[in-house]
C-alpha cells in the first residue's frame, strides 16, 4: 500500500490517541476500583469495628450495672443493665449482618455464646440473694464471663482492623498504580512529539525546501531539477509534476524559437 502523507499523519495521530486512550481507560478503571474499594472499606470493615466498639461499651456498662446490684442499688442497676443489653444486641445484629471476612462467622458465634453465658449470670436476681455484696462471686463468675465476652468482641474488632489495614495498604499501592499510566503516558507523549517533529522535518519540510530550491535553481538556469526526494508520497508526485511541467515549458520554449 502506498503510504501517502495523509495516511502517515493520520496513523501517527491515531497511535498517539491510542496511547492516551489506553492510559485514560486504565486510569479510569483503576480509580473506579479504588472508589469501590474505599466504599467497601467503609461499608464492610468500618461498620463492624464501630459495632464492636459499641458492644465493648455496652459490656462495660453491664459490668457497672452488676456492681450497682451488688451494692443494693437494684433499680438503677437493672435500668443500666436493660439499656446496655439492648445496645449490645443492636450492635451485635449489625455485626452479624455484616460478614465480610473469612472466619468472621466464627467470631460472631463466639460472641453470641460468651454473651449468653455472661447475661445468664446477671439475668437471675442478685439483690437480696447471697450474691449481693459477694465479691468472690463477682470475681470468679460475673467478671470472668464479662472478660470472655469482651475478648470475643475484641477478636472481631482485631480481625476487621487488620483487614482494614491490609486493604488500606493495597489501596495505597493501587492508587500509585492508577497514577502510573497517566505519568508514563505524559512522558511518552512528550517523547512521541519530539520524534514526530523529527519525522515531519525530515519527511515533509526538508523535501519541500529541497523542491523549492530546485525550482529556484531551474529559474537560475539549471534545467535538471535535481532534488533528493526518496519518499513515495504526495511530495514525490509534486516533484514529478513540477519536473514534467518545467520540462514541457522548456520544450515549448525550444519549439517557439525560430
Amino acid at each position: 500500500m502506498k503510504k501517502t502523507l495523509k495516511i502517515k499523519i493520520l496513523a501517527s495521530f491515531m497511535l498517539l490517541v491510542a496511547m492516551l486512550a489506553a492510559a485514560g481507560a486504565i486510569s479510569l478503571a483503576e480509580f473506579r476500583w479504588l472508589s469501590n474499594s474505599v466504599h467497601g472499606l467503609i461499608e464492610d470493615n468500618y461498620r463492624s469495628i464501630e459495632a464492636s466498639k459499641t458492644m465493648v461499651e455496652a459490656l462495660e456498662r453491664e459490668d457497672s450495672g452488676i456492681l450497682l446490684l451488688m451494692l443494693g442499688e437494684w433499680r438503677e442497676g437493672r435500668q443500666i443493665l436493660r439499656s446496655a443489653d439492648s445496645l449490645f444486641m443492636a450492635s451485635f445484629e449489625v455485626a452479624r449482618n455484616n460478614l465480610t471476612e473469612e472466619n468472621e462467622q466464627e467470631h460472631i458465634r463466639q460472641i453470641q455464646e460468651s454473651y449468653q453465658a455472661y447475661k445468664s449470670s446477671w439475668e437471675r436476681p442478685i439483690e437480696d440473694t447471697d450474691k449481693q455484696g459477694n465479691l468472690s462471686w463477682y470475681k470468679e463468675e460475673a467478671h470472668k464471663k464479662f472478660m470472655q465476652a469482651k475478648l470475643a468482641v475484641d477478636g472481631l474488632m482485631s480481625l476487621n482492623q487488620s483487614s482494614m489495614y491490609d486493604e488500606a495498604s493495597e489501596l495505597k499501592e493501587r492508587s500509585k498504580r492508577a497514577l502510573m499510566p497517566g505519568i508514563v503516558s505524559i512522558v511518552a507523549a512528550v517523547v512521541f512529539s519530539l520524534v514526530l517533529n523529527f519525522f515531519i522535518a525530515r519527511y515533509f519540510v526538508n523535501p519541500l525546501s529541497e523542491l523549492a530550491e530546485a525550482v529556484n535553481s531551474f529559474k537560475d538556469g539549471d534545467k535538471s531539477l535535481r532534488s533528493n526526494i526518496t519518499s513515495n508520497d504526495e511530495i514525490k508526485e509534486l516533484e514529478e509534476a513540477i519536473s514534467d511541467l518545467l520540462h514541457r515549458m522548456a520544450s515549448n520554449q525550444n519549439e517557439a524559437k525560430p
Binding site: 491510542a18 486504565i26 498504580r177 502510573m180 512521541f192 520524534v195 519525522f199 526518496t230
Partner: protein
C-alpha cells in the same frame, strides 16, 4: 549517519520487547494477577513506539558502522528504559532505582538482583524478568549482525581472531550466515534445556525461566534461593552443562553438532577454556574438602556449580560462597574477571582477551631473553598481530580503570571493601553475585540508590565493551 535508520531499528528493538511483554501480560491475565495492567500498558507503549518509525522510514538495506554502533548502544539503553516500565508501574519493591537496576541487570544478562522476595512476584513479572535476559542475549546476536560486519580497525580484528577457529571465510561477507548459526544455536539450546529441566521435575514455567537465564548467561531465578531451592543434583548438572555451552563460542557449538572441522574439540581456545574451568573446579573442591567445609562429593558438587556459574558469567547459586575459605573466594574472583568466550552471550573481559594477554606476557619474556628475536603469538593457527595485542592490553587497562573507579565510588558510600570490590567486578563482568553483602544467595538491596546507578553503568559498560561507547562518542564528535 542517518538518524531515521537508527530510529527505525530502535523501533524493531521495541517491537521485540513488546512481543515478550504481550506474553507476560497473557500469563498475568490468565492467572488474574495484579501485574496485568502494568504489563499491558508497557507492551502497548513498546508497540506504539515500535510501529511509529515504520510509518515514515522507507525500506533500508544498508546499515553502516556508525549507524550499527548507535543502534546497539542506544538500543540497549532504550530497552533498559522500557524494561523498567512494568516494574515501576507494578510497584512493590520496585522504586525507580530498583526498577532501573533490575532492568539493566536483566538486559545486560548480569543477573544481579535487588529483590528480597522474588517468589512473591506475580508470574507475569517473573516471566518478563527472565525475558529481559533472553532479549539481552538476542541483542548480542544483533550486535554481531549490525556492528561487526561494518566495523573497521580493532573491532573486526578482535572478532576475526575469535572467528578464525570457526572458518577461514571472510567474516565481513558471511556475517548473515554467522548470525543465522548463532540464532539457531541460541534457540536450540533454550528449547533443549527447557525440555531437560522438565524431564527432571521442574515445572514448565520454572524450566523456561531458568532456561532463558542460563542460555543468556544471566542468572535470574524464580526462587529466592536460586537453583539451591530445588536441591536436585540432576537439575544442577543440566544447568551446569548448559552454562558451559552458553559460555563458549556459539559457532564452535554449531561446528561440533554439524561435525565440522572447526569444533570445540579442535579449537585450542575452547580446550584451554575448559581446562582452566576444570582446574578451577579442582582447586575449589580440594580447598573446601581439606578445610573440612563439606565432605568430598558435596565439595565437588558446590565447587563445580559455583565455578562454572561465575566462569560463564551466569550467576546462579547452589550455596552461599560468602562463608567459604578465602582461597576459594580468590579463585572465584579470578573466574569473575576472566568471564566466558567471545561469540557467546557472556559479557565482561572475555576469556579470549585473557588468553591473548597471557600469550603476550610469554612473548615479552622471550624477548627479554632474546632481544633480537622475532616471536609471534597464535590463536588456533592464526597469527595475532601486535596491533591486536596492544588493543587487548588497552582494553584490559580500561577495564581496570572502570572497575577501580566504581569500587572507589562505592567505598565512598561507606560500603565495606569486599562488597564494593566484588560488586564492581561482578557487574562490569556481567556476572551478578559477588561476596559479603552481595553474595551468591544474597542480593543488592542494601546498596544505596546512588551505588545502584554506578553499578548499572558498570553493567552497561561491561556489556557494550567500553570501546563501543568510546567509539560512539568519537563518532559523534566527528
Amino acid at each position: 549517519m542517518k538518524k531515521e535508520i537508527i530510529i527505525k531499528h530502535l523501533g524493531y528493538v521495541l517491537l521485540l520487547n513488546g512481543l515478550f511483554l504481550l506474553i507476560s501480560f497473557l500469563i498475568s491475565l490468565f492467572l488474574g494477577e495484579s501485574s496485568t495492567i502494568a504489563l499491558l500498558f508497557s507492551g502497548l507503549i513498546c508497540a506504539i513506539f515500535g510501529v511509529f518509525p515504520l510509518i515514515f522510514v522507507e525500506r533500508t538495506e544498508h546499515v553502516n558502522f556508525g549507524e550499527g554502533l548507535s543502534i546497539v548502544v542506544f538500543g540497549w539503553l532504550l530497552t533498559c528504559v522500557v524494561g523498567m516500565l512494568p516494574y515501576i508501574m507494578w510497584g512493590g519493591e520496585f522504586t525507580l532505582a530498583n526498577a532501573w537496576f533490575e532492568s539493566v541487570s536483566g538486559f545486560t544478562t548480569t543477573g544481579a538482583t535487588v529483590l528480597v522476595e522474588i517468589e512473591s512476584l506475580p508470574k507475569g513479572i517473573l516471566f518478563w524478568r527472565s525475558s529481559t535476559h533472553w532479549i539481552g542475549g538476542v541483542g548480542i546476536i544483533l550486535f554481531v549482525m549490525l556492528v561487526l560486519p561494518q566495523s573497521k580497525g580493532q573491532r573486526l580484528s578482535v572478532y576475526n581472531a575469535e572467528i578464525s577457529s570457526l572458518s577461514k571465510m571472510n567474516f565481513r561477507f558471511e556475517a548473515r550466515r554467522i548470525v543465522r548459526i548463532l540464532a539457531v544455536v541460541y534457540l536450540s539450546l533454550t528449547l533443549l534445556e527447557t525440555v531437560a529441566l522438565m524431564l527432571f521435575g521442574m515445572s514448565f514455567f520454572d524450566a523456561i525461566n531458568h532456561s532463558f537465564a542460563t542460555i543468556a548467561t544471566g542468572g535470574f531465578s524464580t526462587k529466592n534461593l536460586s537453583v539451591a531451592a530445588y536441591d536436585s543434583v540432576a537439575i544442577e548438572v543440566i544447568i551446569m552443562v548448559f552454562m558451559l555451552l552458553s559460555g563458549m563460542h556459539f559457532g564452535l557449538i554449531y561446528g561440533t553438532v554439524m561435525l565440522k572441522k572447526e569444533n570445540i574439540f579442535t579449537s585450542s581456545l575452547a580446550k584451554t577454556f575448559l581446562l582452566v574451568m576444570l582446574a578451577g573446579v579442582a582447586l575449589v573442591t580440594a580447598k573446601l574438602y581439606l578445610a573440612g567445609t563439606y565432605d568430598f562429593w558435596t565439595s565437588l558438587r558446590f565447587a563445580s556449580f559455583q565455578v562454572i556459574s561465575l566462569g560463564t558469567t551466569t550467576g546462579f547459586a547452589t550455596e552461599d560462597s560468602a562463608h567459604w575459605p578465602i582461597f576459594t573466594q580468590v579463585v572465584l574472583i579470578y573466574f569473575t574477571i576472566q568471564c566466558g568466550m567471545t561469540g557467546s552471550t557472556s559479557g565482561g573481559l572475555k576469556f579470549d582477551r585473557v588468553y591473548i594477554f597471557f600469550q603476550s606476557i610469554g612473548k615479552q619474556v622471550k624477548l627479554l631473553k632474546h632481544p633480537q628475536g622475532i616471536f609471534i603469538s597464535k590463536v588456533d593457527g592464526k597469527v595475532i598481530d601486535d596491533k591486536l595485542e596492544q588493543q587487548t592490553l588497552v582494553f584490559i587497562v580500561l577495564y581496570i580503570v572502570v572497575f577501580f573507579t566504581s569500587t572507589a565510588l562505592l567505598t565512598a558510600m561507606d560500603l565495606d571493601g569486599m562488597t564494593a570490590f566484588s560488586a564492581s567486578i561482578a557487574t562490569i563482568g556481567n556476572v551478578g553475585p559477588g561476596f559479603e553483602k552481595v553474595s551468591s544467595l544474597g542480593n543488592f538491596s542494601t546498596i544505596p540508590d546512588l551505588g545502584k546507578y554506578v553499578l548499572s553503568i558498570n553493567m552497561l559498560l561491561g556489556r557494550l565493551e567500553i570501546f563501543n561507547v568510546i567509539a560512539l562518542i568519537m563518532l559523534k564528535r566527528h
